[in-house]
Symmetry: C2
């Protein structure tokens, strides 16, 4: 089933307003959910809304709280999110980091006590659309074993790197073909494991250990051991750990090990929004040449599979955005029915 962006957005907004979110904030939050679905990150768009609604119901997410500044010096601020709606908090923090970068060329907001930001890439696209470079990440509850541990001790702490590119149609950055990396630091999420199990498929690459401690592509065996892999084994493990510390220490917030193992109470998390405004230091034309040449080199390189051109991070997002805008946005029928039921 495919529906229009307008219908998806207005339905989500109406549902949020029923929970006590103000019309203006519900509208914006719904736009972010709808854009995530439109861009093809189905796991963190509409399909994730029921969990957020449950967390509003159980008190893990506040419908009215807005973030406040805790401390500020130069280009750096720390904020408290007061368990407000995660995507609104994150968007506000990234917007503030960009304001700081307007003044200082760099800007950073360290946000504590916030709730799940849904698609991490959202805030990367937000920054790149204004011509900023961004590094941004969140911690999460423990869901991946640190290298050498047997159970979940690390977050999969999605990490976002955004590289702005000028839109050739308009000559400015808005809606440009940005390069946006948006990756969880586990190789596969448990949601992806479950989807493979449901389809009866093996993983494309090893995703964790079986109960005997052997690397495996069998999603059920990883479910059983609860030992999914961080990317690059000890390397991703160290990356998740240091990103967790960076966010929790600078924001004064919680680290992964302090966050509930129960996904319905995964709240009070810590995030970093760090942007660079290049305009006073680098030349737009030279930057465009560099990124275009790199993408050209990638596309013309010999391929491992001749039929599959290599892609840059974010390329598929743009393709799906275009396709879903043209054909309508695919929605999961049962989730869509469940959401509409809330309005009847």
């Amino acid at each position: 089933q495919r529906i229009s962006f307008a219908e998806l957005q207005s339905t989500i907004s109406a549902v949020l307003q029923r929970t006590g979110v103000s019309p203006k904030r519900a509208d914006r939050c719904a736009t972010l959910f709808a854009e995530t679905t439109r861009d093809g990150v189905y796991t963190h768009g509409l399909n994730r809304l029921p969990r957020m609604l449950a967390m509003i119901a159980n008190g893990s997410v506040s419908t009215t709280a807005e973030p406040t500044v805790v401390a500020s010096h130069g280009a750096l601020e720390s904020w408290d999110g007061h368990l407000g709606i995660g995507n609104l908090n994150a968007e506000a923090a990234m917007a503030r980091a960009m304001e700081l970068a307007d003044q200082y060329s760099l800007g950073c907001v360290a946000l504590r006590n916030t709730s799940h930001w849904m698609r991490g890439g959202t805030y990367g696209w937000q920054a790149a659309d204004r011509g900023y470079f961004a590094l941004s990440w969140t911690n999460t509850n423990p869901n991946t074993p640190a290298w050498g541990t047997a159970g979940p001790t690390l977050g999969n702490n999605p990490f976002v790197v955004a590289i702005p590119r000028i839109n050739p149609k308009t000559g400015d950055y808005r809606s440009g073909p940005h390069v946006v990396l948006d990756m969880a630091i586990s190789q596969f999420s448990y949601g992806q494991l479950d989807a493979h199990i449901a389809r009866g498929e093996q993983l494309s690459v090893p995703g964790g250990f079986d109960p005997e401690g052997n690397l495996t592509r069998d999603p059920a065996a990883i479910r059983e051991s609860y030992r999914a892999l961080p990317i690059g084994f000890w390397k991703g493990s160290g990356l998740a750990l240091t990103l967790d510390l960076f966010a929790a220490m600078l924001s004064g917030g919680k680290a992964t090990h302090e966050i509930s193992l129960d996904p319905l109470f995964e709240t009070g998390i810590s995030q970093i929004f760090l942007v660079v405004s290049p305009s006073n230091v680098a030349h737009a034309e030279a930057m465009t040449q560099t990124v275009d040449a790199l993408i050209q080199a990638l596309r013309s390189a010999p391929r491992s599979d001749p039929a599959t051109p290599p892609r840059y991070p974010g390329e598929e997002t743009l393709r799906l955005r275009e396709e879903n805008t043209r054909l309508g946005i695919p929605v999961d029928e049962s989730v869509w029915a469940e959401i509409q039921l809330r309005l009847s």
Copy 2:
């Protein structure tokens, strides 16, 4: 064979002075090489010196060039390294980023046209020793296939994250037990593959593809296919690509695909030094509590191998630093003989 830090450092300094490096700069450069070896990163300490000397000889590294500021605005500067000695250029750039952070809480230097910085972690320890958080990375020549390409198209672009911790003996940050992640974005370097081949060992985890396109732990098969893996498959590939763009675009320097495939001419590279000074925004005591509690949680977690305690990134560095300071620094006899020959 084990030798003292003083002997190692002064020997390297003397060799560098023979190539035309000034006594003061040779001394500092030699200290960085000796510290890298003392800290157990043998691949990028003394053992790497012969290649740097060869690159001085072939004109890829200048013994006299010092970096200059190209553009500056607020907390961001771009620098040209003029192919100067990589570790000296990098140390100067990190020192300047810290000065900027003293003023703005954030500081960044984007450095182009520099040469190999040797151990990336050096600049993370430098920042953490003064109480700063740091993110820093370099690009390299093409040595890892991007996801979907058949030959080397990406750099293994080492990425460094530094988290400062107070030294409990002195109460300040100097020589603290910092958490420093220092990782190449390939799972194994070709140097590590060769070391495994020489020892007749398989890799501990899959490190690349064999010529038939299957994942393998056989280092010789990966050598043959020249398809080593980035960490996390498509994820590390995207990370290396975005870090490359970030560094090359902001510095106005070269991206990986513009750098020579020949390691003896791997020069003119691009690097980022980005630091956060927490002191005006976060409380030192709270930060200490957060990092100590996280390390405590890691150590007390159930283990995958009961005999092996999980480690945080940088922990082994401190252990080796202590051991090698106590027992003397192990040196490869043939490399050590070769270096001494240059002085006779």
